[in-house]
Symmetry: D2
Subunit: 140 residues, 4 copies
């Protein structure tokens, strides 16, 4: 477990297939035995508060879920359905690219747990979370 890894190029391909993932502008930066690192490139539509200009929590939640999911996918070779996810918000995320670091907490044959930490362009932690992913073999 954790020993196989599909590599950056293949992971980037898998992520980029999804229209909403493309809209989130993901670039896979790293994928190895320790987990994955992905960057989401800022879009003006992400703002929640037009005066203070910080990023909508739904965007942060989506990035955390995707990062944790792809930490699992990097080992399994395919993205997996999210069963549930929890996200904690630590700090307003101001305009700028966001980078998530994610790792598998436990890989199971039926469901698995992964966690992710999300950083702003200055490296400050803005949110973190964990999810349960459905990792049973797809039916033949």
């Amino acid at each position: 477990m954790g020993e196989t890894n599909i590599g950056i190029e293949r992971l980037q391909e898998l992520i980029t297939r999804g229209p909403f993932n493309r809209w989130l502008n993901f670039t896979v930066l790293k994928s190895d035995a320790d987990g994955v690192e992905i960057r989401a490139a800022w879009r003006e539509e992400w703002v929640v508060n037009p005066d203070r200009r910080y990023t909508h929590g739904g965007i942060l939640a989506a990035i955390i879920d995707v990062a944790a999911d792809y930490a699992v996918a990097a080992q399994l070779g395919r993205p997996v359905p999210t069963i549930d996810v929890r996200v904690d918000y630590h700090k307003a995320a101001m305009p700028g690219d966001l980078t998530a670091k994610a790792r598998v907490v436990r890989m199971g044959s039926q469901y698995s747990t992964a966690e992710a930490y999300l950083y702003d362009k200055d490296g400050a932690l803005v949110a973190s979370g964990r999810g349960t992913y459905f990792t049973a073999s797809p039916k033949a």
Copy 2:
């Protein structure tokens, strides 16, 4: 508590101020002592899987967080920061508008809990969740 309510028009104004909320195409359908009901109008960018065409979990999470937040906002008269949120996925959400029903579980002077249930265009439950919101008075 739970007795005051800012009304549909004012709630719609508050939601519509945020660029990402506008991108999610929210319409407030109801806001009364039992909670709020909001609809998000489908966009093609929401798709996660181009073959099966279902909606990205990050979109469902964002709608649930917004609905629960505005259930609190409807009582307080202002949107509130999300402290943390949990989302459970129940069923693939196929293309079509999504409607969330949300209510306050407990209103507190420092932090509050609200929950939301999300339905597809046929009325099937696709996701649900709950969040903790920061409801301390803004500093003068």
Copy 3:
């Protein structure tokens, strides 16, 4: 789904088999299509703070998990493994019996979601939460 129900006596038997459930002093009060209601009888060991005498959050979490689990069990006829659980604390729970009301949010063939609300002896909501339960058929 949700139509069969094993009944109060059988549910009480299932709960009472577990030593920790016995230690939590559970009595099944109700079990029908709307969900289950169970009472946990107060013990002095539950106190977390010897001065203020309120109940340890771990006790409230355990009761919420058991109630949600048995809402699922009442339909399936057997208790199920908890995959993950979230608990929100609303109010200090003072010495006295605690009553949980739980219901299935979504029953699935692989995993299911249930939620529970916990009340003190005066009927005040002290905690609530939800969990994901593993409901795949046991292997033959």
Copy 4:
């Protein structure tokens, strides 16, 4: 933040004040800038399934919450109220002492996040989780 730490003896005193903490048989093993490590000594009452003899999830949840809370307490000098907690179950915990490692994810002036990982006597990860803690200054 994270630089002060009350030390093992003082942390042990704070934990041991609570009757339910005493019942959970906690020993503080470590408390430094990286977090805390606490051990809970096995009790027969913890069993959930009399045939298979594994530990009740409510016990694992309580230990995780206590460990995460005391990671915060080690920095603040006082235990703090849990706002909410999430626990993921990874593996049946068989009879034997359990050891939790916990650390603060983000310390805030109003609320803070901490996470914990729980290991059985053979060092296998049996559960993990995270909670939000209320860290506003107590009113004078």
